[in-house]
């Protein structure tokens, strides 16, 4: 109670954000008191609450008499299907014999691939210890060059699609815009990571994937109405 009174006495406009973010009873009570003498905060609080009230009306209710029968039918069909190896493996009991054999096979496979990898790496290092670094650098430069050309072509595509995205009026076009924003953010993140490790093939593949997705999306935007 003392805390509440203290916060009521000291509440200022700059505390508004914290109050709305935290929504703690003490801060909200203090905000309400403050709002009585501050029009700006009062308006903000009013809009904030209207959003919450209107949001409660967004709850959807409709009867779906056929939905449960459909689900039940689907569940029965699922249950009738023969179990896959994944299911058996995932089951807590599983089949002990199969699990034991699979585990042994996996361990052997891991050992063989590990040994092969070790041998290959050491053999490669013996053959060309000095050229290895140069070859990697050259490969990275080639990839960078190809990537730049690809990016430029996508930028051209983006420039063509931009007017359509700017005037997006349909939910579909807004979805495209949102997706492209997400892709651009992902590309920027990926590029930042790549700048720290240029020879990382995984990041390069990921970046390529993002660009391809962006290209497809831009094409969809240009083809869409």
């Amino acid at each position: 109670m003392r805390d509440m009174m203290a916060s009521q006495r000291t509440f200022q406009c700059r505390d508004l954000e914290e109050a709305l973010r935290e929504e703690s009873p003490e801060l909200m009570a203090a905000l309400e008191v403050h709002a009585k003498s501050c029009t700006a905060c009062e308006q903000e609080l009013l809009v904030w609450r209207e959003i919450s009230v209107a949001a409660q009306e967004m709850k959807k209710e409709w009867s779906s008499p056929t939905l449960w029968p459909r689900i039940a039918q689907g569940l029965k069909e699922e249950a009738a299907k023969p179990k896959t190896w994944r299911t058996w493996f995932a089951m807590p009991g599983g089949i002990p014999l199969v699990r034991w054999q699979l585990a042994l096979a996996a361990a052997l496979l891991l050992m063989i691939s590990g040994m092969s990898g070790w041998l290959m790496l050491h053999r490669a290092a013996r053959i060309a210890p000095d050229n290895q670094h140069l070859l990697t650098d050259q490969a990275v430069r080639d990839v960078e060059k190809a990537q730049q050309a690809y990016e430029q072509s996508i930028d051209k595509l983006a420039a063509l699609a931009q007017p359509k995205l700017d005037s997006a009026a349909t939910p579909l076009m807004m979805n495209y815009r949102e997706k492209l924003e997400l892709l651009n953010a992902a590309i920027a993140d990926c590029r930042t990571n790549l700048a720290q490790n240029q020879a990382n093939a995984y990041l390069r593949r990921q970046l390529l994937g993002f660009y391809q997705e962006k290209e497809r999306t831009l094409q969809d935007v240009l083809q869409g109405e």
Partner: protein, 222 residues
């Protein structure tokens, strides 16, 4: 049936759901609720269809509402709810009980909704038909009376990023707690609070641009 004889969850989970602590309907303690949730998970794990029916009775309406708000039409929403039940059935053995069973189910539901949205984006030819339906089903009956801001708010919510939209819908529309939202979306409680704040700020800005919020606030003022 062996399941019916060995498990007594059916009566025990009458009122169990995900509600805020100040909800007057919540009369059971958290421990009891957890135990009931666990019983329902075990029952579903046993594969009994009536366990899934109970899950549907408890969470189906809320699942449909979330899916409808994320996908925009009742047809897709029902499809996704059905898909979620099948995924729960297929993946129940992976559920380790680290979170509430219902939280896990909602996580699958949300992922299924986003998969459905992605499919729609990839196949615009089918989504055109969906959009026609979307326009029609925006008028799906809502709970209570129509708030003057509802339709505008729905459009603004649809323009939020997927994460902000999910947090807003789960908290403000469906009444989940931030801790539950954190578990569903795999984020911290604080991150959920921050996302809700950001979502509401963006909505306020969008509504102000459209004249919606200012009109409501102005109306109240007058």
């Amino acid at each position: 049936m062996q399941f019916e004889g060995t498990l007594s969850w059916q009566g025990a989970v009458q009122e169990f759901g995900l509600s805020r602590p100040d909800d007057p309907a919540l009369v059971r303690s958290r421990e009891e609720a957890r135990a009931e949730d666990s019983l329902l998970a075990d029952a579903c794990r046993s594969g009994a269809v009536d366990a899934y029916e109970r899950l549907y009775q408890l969470q189906g309406a809320r699942m449909k509402s979330i899916a409808m708000n994320l996908l925009g039409n009742a047809h897709d929403a029902e499809d996704v709810v059905q898909e979620t039940f099948l995924k729960v059935h297929r993946g129940i053995h992976h559920f380790k009980g680290q979170s509430a069973f219902s939280t896990w189910v909602y996580r699958i539901l949300l992922n299924s909704c986003y998969d459905a949205r992605r499919r729609r984006i990839r196949h615009p030819e089918t989504s055109e038909q969906d959009l026609v339906e979307e326009g029609e089903t925006y008028e799906t009956p809502t709970k209570g009376s129509n708030h003057p801001l509802r339709l505008t708010l729905e459009k603004c919510v649809a323009a939020l990023t997927p994460h902000l939209r999910s947090v807003f819908l789960l908290y403000e529309v469906e009444g989940f707690k931030h801790s539950e939202i954190g578990n569903i979306l795999g984020v911290s409680e604080m991150a959920s609070k921050n996302a809700l704040y950001q979502a509401k700020r963006k909505l306020r800005d969008m509504l102000t641009e459209r004249g919606g919020a200012s009109a409501v606030a102005g109306g109240r003022d007058a």
